[in-house]
Symmetry: C2
Subunit: 110 residues, 2 copies
DNA sequence: CGGTATCCACAAAGATACTG
DNA sequence: CAGTATCTTTGTGGATACCG
């Protein structure tokens, strides 16, 4: 997920790169609701495997749009939340959601 | 590119699905500038192969966001442009571009 | 609980050649 | 010019097993 740092990309690509894949969007959606534990994300996102969830969370953390907080407890507890930067994506997610709604209606009504 | 119609997806996923991949975004960027011929797109998008360009154009055409117009000439001429629906994506692309710019600056300034 | 480590499958992308 | 047809290569995700 994080191997290719060869880029300089155009701005749109940069943005898309951060949120493009299916899982990242779903993770963002969950975190927009508030802080979540790893297990909550896992069960809240239908069909995601542990590996893929971890990979995406790491990647998003590297990108600086989410924050990871591990509590030194037994059993372990790890919480994820949006960073300030991540919060600034909210308008974009919202506008995509609005557009998607309109598109789906269009499809359904023919 | 077009095999998976198994969905009902949430609105954000729908939108992301249409524009998520790297190539589609670059194609959209080109077409936002105006109508382009196949060859113009090919040379305007660095590194894209003929096959992948074709695949993505077909997919986007199916999704209804671009239009294909083939002129019955020799040699063939095929022009691509955004559909009305495609044009409505403009605000989203723009906001992603803005966000990406800010992000890149942030990265560069540390 | 929240991971990491492997192995495998399959889809997507690249390269190349050919065509209406 | 604008594709299609193949073949090969790559990579992302699924399944499983194990660990601090």
């Amino acid at each position: 997920m994080e191997k290719k740092k060869e880029l300089p990309l155009c701005p749109v690509e940069t943005t898309v790169g951060l949120i493009s894949n299916k899982w990242k969007i779903l993770i963002l959606r969950e975190l927009l609701k508030g802080t979540k534990r790893f297990g909550e994300l896992r069960s809240g996102i239908d069909g995601i495997s542990q590996k893929v969830l971890t990979q995406n969370l790491r990647s998003m953390e590297e990108d600086g749009i989410i924050q990871r907080h591990a509590y030194p407890e037994v059993p372990p507890r790890v919480e994820y939340s949006l960073s300030d930067l991540g919060e600034t994506l909210k308008p974009i997610i919202s506008s995509m959601e609005q557009w998607g709604l309109g598109y789906q209606e269009m499809i359904n009504n023919g």
